[in-house]
Assembly symmetry: C2
Homo-oligomer: 216 residues x 2
């Protein structure tokens, strides 16, 4: 058996439970009524560094961002987090939200129904388009991670699928104290609830950090 873990870190949710609003689009990546949603992240030094920017502070939220890629050997994200397009891939030149040098610096698996050749980016990130379902994708990611953990980036629907399957080992949620109203719920209705216990909850001046672990 592997000691590798599937972890979620710094995943953002509004108080009313949304990881994104309606109508995610180029000029409003998180969709409607999400003004200020990412402010806490851009207030940190590490959040800026990760995007190649200067600025931010080493505040109480900074360590969470700074360590969010510690011991991570591969990443997984859903297709709707990778692109605003839907359906079969078209040659639109889109290579993700993150520019030529994405913050993953590792093999990164995009869960999709639609095959596409791998996309080699700068800085060690290669996007692999994984079409055989969440479990197969996780196996591939564990293999690619070379003994390290795999970080599940999002979006909400993809995390929801892995949670429902009991495959997430550690879930760190950042609750942003605002209301979004409608959009992508991190926790759709589920009976029984996903088998996770909250092992830590702390507030900073900007947000609330909650950390869940899978029940044993």
């Amino acid at each position: 058996m592997t000691n590798q873990r599937l972890v979620v870190r710094c995943f953002m949710m509004s108080v009313d439970g949304f990881a994104a609003g309606v109508d995610q689009r180029l000029e409003q990546p998180f969709g409607d009524h999400t003004e200020g949603f990412t402010d806490w992240m851009f207030a940190t030094r590490s959040g800026n560094l990760m995007l190649g920017l200067d600025g931010g502070e080493e505040n109480a939220d900074d360590p969470f961002v700074a360590h969010s890629f510690d011991d991570i050997g591969a990443a997984i994200l859903g297709r709707n987090m990778f692109a605003t397009s839907r359906g079969p891939w078209v040659d639109d030149g889109w290579t993700g939200w993150w520019g030529p040098n994405p913050p993953y610096h590792a093999p990164t698996f995009v869960v999709t129904h639609h095959p596409r050749d791998p996309l080699v980016m700068e800085g060690g990130t290669t996007f692999h388009f994984a079409t055989a379902g969440i479990e197969d994708t996780l196996e591939r990611a564990f293999a690619a991670a070379d003994g390290k953990d795999v970080r599940l980036m999002g979006g909400a629907a993809t995390i929801g699928q892995y949670l429902a399957a009991g495959l997430v080992d550690d879930l760190h949620i950042v609750v942003v104290p605002m209301l979004i109203g409608r959009g992508e719920r991190l926790f759709p209705e589920s009976t029984p609830p996903p088998p996770y216990v909250c092992v830590e909850h702390i507030a900073t001046s900007a947000v609330v950090h909650l950390r869940f672990e899978r029940e044993r």
Copy 2:
């Protein structure tokens, strides 16, 4: 114009957004998968006192409970919070969850579609069964409160209606760090989001307190 306010205090919600689970019933008042949901309250001295019990500590959560009825002259609650029965009232002897001396100690309006005579309890609580809708009920409660504020007790559906109508002045939510999975959502989908801003968020060892005020 009145200076009276409609306030929500100590209203509990799980991290996945539920104020109660499925199948609320006598032996499990908050429904399925809510074990431990009220532990934080019973850990406080004031929570015990309010129910005529002994025990609990003056911990960091205690002041929130202790002050939850400050300056309150009347209360409003939904019928489903008052009773597990539904539909027209029957003579089943039910007088609420709280015994002969409920913790309201004031005129308390039960929002219902079904008329019923007022129910005079010990300690100053009289339950009035209000059938003319949430706005009319609020007017009656303000009148009965004699210049003081009105506390909106719940449940989720009733608070949701008052929130959607923009009638809540101050909303204090206690986020219990657990997952319930399915049940009564405090925040159903809404476009735009309810017009409230979070003015305070703090964590205690047991829960997270969030306080919202209506945008001006």
